[in-house]
Symmetry: none
Subunit: 212 residues, 4 copies
Amino acid sequence: MKSPPLKSPKAQPSGEATEPPAPQKWRRRKGARPQEILAAAMAVFAEKGFSAARMEDVAARAGVSKGTVYLYYTSKQDMFRALVREGITANLRTGAEMVERFDGSSAELLRLLLGAAVHAIQTSPLAAAPKIIISESGNFPEMAEFYRREVIDVGLGLVMQIIRRGVERGEFRATGGEYAARLFIAPVVLAALWKSCFDQFDKTPFDAASDN
Amino acid sequence: MKSPPLKSPKAQPSGEATEPPAPQKWRRRKGARPQEILAAAMAVFAEKGFSAARMEDVAARAGVSKGTVYLYYTSKQDMFRALVREGITANLRTGAEMVERFDGSSAELLRLLLGAAVHAIQTSPLAAAPKIIISESGNFPEMAEFYRREVIDVGLGLVMQIIRRGVERGEFRATGGEYAARLFIAPVVLAALWKSCFDQFDKTPFDAASDN
Amino acid sequence: MKSPPLKSPKAQPSGEATEPPAPQKWRRRKGARPQEILAAAMAVFAEKGFSAARMEDVAARAGVSKGTVYLYYTSKQDMFRALVREGITANLRTGAEMVERFDGSSAELLRLLLGAAVHAIQTSPLAAAPKIIISESGNFPEMAEFYRREVIDVGLGLVMQIIRRGVERGEFRATGGEYAARLFIAPVVLAALWKSCFDQFDKTPFDAASDN
Amino acid sequence: MKSPPLKSPKAQPSGEATEPPAPQKWRRRKGARPQEILAAAMAVFAEKGFSAARMEDVAARAGVSKGTVYLYYTSKQDMFRALVREGITANLRTGAEMVERFDGSSAELLRLLLGAAVHAIQTSPLAAAPKIIISESGNFPEMAEFYRREVIDVGLGLVMQIIRRGVERGEFRATGGEYAARLFIAPVVLAALWKSCFDQFDKTPFDAASDN
DNA sequence: AATGAATGAGGCTTCATTCAT
DNA sequence: CATGAATGAAGCCTCATTCAT
């Protein structure tokens, strides 16, 4: 009835006329849909929060109809959980590998990691994760706990690992690293929140370039 | 959204009246109601967010009936705005005065301020403010902007003022203070968020005692 | 906003003008509502069945708004269950008492009971009960079981009791009564169903007057 | 409700073709599909009622996909009507023929008919017919009327014919037969309903063996 | 001032129906 | 012929808001 408003239906080379002339690539394949919907949900939830987000908004942003969303997620909550579980956990691995392979000075490594984080915040939609988790921690304690365990603790561990590495190599003065790691991470997280919250009316970055 | 032709909501007197001047000893405390409702709203909004919070929850927590809330605020939004404006702005004045009067070393002053902040986070319900603002920044951009201007900028200014004071007095090495102030504040804010989000299932404080 | 469409708002005697002139008896008292709603539900469920019945229909027939129904019943199912439990069980007691007190011949008693049943079928909305239970036995097995136990078995018991009474008094020839009771009841139930199903287009009664 | 400009739904050949004349041995059994779907629909409608039955349930039970159903019936209603018309009417012919050919005593004939009915109730899926008609009489009055006319009246007529036969032959005492026929049929119908409604949790037959 | 029964707009969810493959 | 992903109308239910008492 309605031609999907997104993804311009690419006109195909008019080859043989044996087939009906314009199969416009058909409604998007089953395989991609869940991710597209999750991405849309990420954006909408980040903007409005879980309760204020309307399923119709998510559907519209994903370029599908209301009903379609329910072919992939059984409910709004289900979608939210999938979002947190699959969408948000995704990119800590990169950092871990970076740490693994690196062999310059630890300070350098920290700076590198920081740079990567800042870049991710400025470009990746995943920067919305902290805002989403914070907003819904009251309504989805399990999600908050999950995030706390799988993302925050892992991230802190990563930094602490670098600090220990620096201490062992005599680069840093001795420290437990507990608080140092937190102090290191705090501005990064806040930068992400800053972007999620204030960028709409004030593009001044929170932490464009830091010099430690 | 809709202006009902009813009684204009009277704005609550801001700040803390150190002594209620002469409360007409009518039925009950009359001037207290709005504050009680606002306090209840603060708690509920912090827990659920604006959309998920129900007026009935707020009323119940304030110990009044649903209808009563509407005697003081014309709508849920009105209540939310009053909450942010009057409830949250309130306690930066204390910090400003503290800075004004202090005459020890600037490092001491910073530590004092930090201590006060940590204490406030652990005891005051206002610690929920950052979470509320972050959660609803998408739905109430004006509130976010307001908070940004009236609370964050003022708070940052306070810290920068101390830093400049320290630089002038030769206590700190020269710096613009821009980033230093942010780095100083980041963990404090994050501590408040930590408490608002994770305290429900994990009482480990984010930053129980820092040693700068 | 909307004046309730049913129950004409009775104009009251214009007495003193001290009060606002037309308090039209106010929205109906809390006490009566549940029964009114149940009665409406009975009628709608009988006509459409559970699934096809719309809550709005029930509300409209009860003369209230959609939301009001939910002040008294938490869901459509809840309402349905209340309907079966409270609405339908109600009128076997009458029969039991009748049997208790009677001291004529047993045949007379049976005829009396039959007459009462026929009369109830023709006048009481409870005649819709069998249709409702039959229709929803697949969707609400517990209700069907409940009805089977509390209404059918009790009713059959009543008839069997009379038959035994008749046998003991030498009025009837000896019989277990099992099948006799069923044969006695079958036409009665079918008369109720007949009315519920076919009366809409054919007023020919199923069993207007029987002569056993 | 809406006539789509697609292929006209071909009415299924009624009754039982004792021998499928010459099925073009195309892909699969072609003529069988509609009957299979109707049988599935019969079962699902009997269990859930029209509204609560999902086309997907019917399709699944028939072992086809959702879309396939629409190759044979234009809508859910269309399917329901076909079901009643073709599926339910089917087996009165047998009784009529039985009456035609029989030449024993009329009492014997009645007993024979009763036995056949009881047997059909216990084994045929058509036993669900009364329940279906009763359930949906409110939503499909024309179906109820159709059933009333084509099945009930015909059935009653059959019994009355036997009774008249008995009276003519001097086997029964004179009677109009009106009520007698009803009294004779009532337990049979009720037995079918009993099975449709209560068999799920209670296998006690309503009328396993009667001795008139 | 306070109450809480009543209202109805609006959101989540289901499911009959369509249609490209 | 058959499929099943997609659609969107429609229904249940929630909850902000009103208002007679």
